[in-house]
Amino acid sequence: MKTKFIILCFLSVLFWAIPSHSFNFGNILKEVEKSTRPPEKTQPSKEKTKPTQSPAQSSEQNSGQDGGLISLGDSLGLFDKKTSKFLKQSVNTLKSLQPIAYEEEKAIGGRLAVEVFNRYGGAYNDPELLNYINLVGQSVADVSSRSDINYHFAILNTEFPNAFATPGGYVFVSIGLIRMIENEAELAGVLAHEVAHIARKHALQTLQRSRSLQGVSSLTLTVMDKDPGLFDKLIDEVSNVLFTKGLDKNLEFEADKYGREFAYRTGYYPGALKRFIQKLGASKKNQGSIFSSTHPTSRERYNLLQKSSSRYKKASLYPTLGKRFKVAIKR
């Protein structure tokens, strides 16, 4: 009887404790590595004069350290070569999943924002219109799932229909795209789509999954500052995704879904983004543009939004604010 009682008490405590304590696999890995890594030698004078390592070199070194426990298993003959290689790769992959902190995200996003202005016509100069874009953008950002960071909105001086988001809160919309829009709800849908990319950290997710970053355990500003090659690599990688290849299709669909939700939460007609996507697909202006080459087809996007539109039952009651939009863009 006593034993049963003790077991029951133990189980009760166990059940209580599990939900209140979460595990961080990354930290566990770090601890395991710490315990198996040989102590570092302190050579301050040498360190100061040491030339900057290339990312490839540092990556190699890291991968050597990463497999501390695995290397130990190796030397004890516990793993064959294939298993050992697989385990080392797994450790690196898990480590690359460590989230990038906001400060670093903003450094990456800020640099990419410079690139956006550099590549796409620079800033469009109309303070009143800019103020209006900021008001609409801020309204949707405030009800987004990541409203605790600062968002910045800008208009690009290009007639090509374009919109971009770079990590850390930078949102761009081209004057060409604004001219295709018919009401405020459509504008809110477009801006909310970009806010959703930032809120869901789509570019960062892509970066963290990148093969070229395998073996890089932490991306801090100190690390980036010490290794300019690493920052170069990061920027090249994200630039290639944002400006050439485009994000994964599913991330674009997700941004559509979340963007519509954020616009709806703000109080706009939730069908506006879908309508605009349809219009964009039919536009000749969009054909061959960077926007069309970096996004899934308008038909796919429209169909997916259409499939999930039953969620918004009283959609038609929500405003599109066409008049206010036309006044704002002086049409």
Partner: protein, 167 residues
């Protein structure tokens, strides 16, 4: 004896369960969040709460949550609240719950979220090194300096019947 044991287990589980279910403390997402007398955007403003202020959620009416905060009871527009403590992780834990999934982000985010301003020196140096035009760099700085005034935003929402003012 058996009865005593069962009672103990029941109480233990009961206590653990209720303590999790009744935990209704939420947090204010943005500074200058209005605590209002009624569940209406145009009702009397009882006070303004700072970002991170914990509030006890007591009920719901439309787009507003009835809360108790700093010794006062009032109503707050629901998207101004988050389930996640500011010192924890970012994102609002999806108030509507339909889109699912909380993101794990670094704890530093909440602390720095609104305080990191200006183009990072790392970014600026890199942009200069790569030959980006000074105008492009200045445009990003300009973009960051631009701040939407809280009152202007509130007026904009009211005029468009948006946000807390939506019908």
């Amino acid at each position: 004896m058996r009865l005593l044991i069962y009672s103990f287990i029941f109480l233990f589980f009961g206590f653990s369960f209720t303590s999790q279910v009744t935990a209704e403390t939420w947090y204010v997402k943005k500074s200058a969040t209005k605590l209002q007398a009624e569940a209406k955007a145009r009702s009397k403003v009882l006070g303004k709460l700072n970002k991170g202020t914990p509030v006890d959620v007591l009920g719901k009416s439309g787009k507003f949550y009835k809360v108790s905060a700093a010794g006062e009871t009032g109503w707050i527009f629901r998207f101004r609240l988050t389930k996640v403590a500011p010192s924890g992780s970012g994102g609002d834990g999806d108030v509507l719950g339909a889109l699912g999934g909380q993101q794990q982000i670094a704890a530093r985010e909440s602390a720095y979220g609104s305080s990191i301003r200006g183009l990072s020196p790392v970014s600026e140096e890199h942009a200069i090194k790569k030959g980006a035009s000074p105008a492009s760099i200045e445009s990003v700085k300009e973009m960051e300096r631009y701040k939407v005034d809280d009152e202007a935003l509130d007026k904009f929402l009211e005029e468009g019947r948006l946000g807390a003012y939506a019908d």
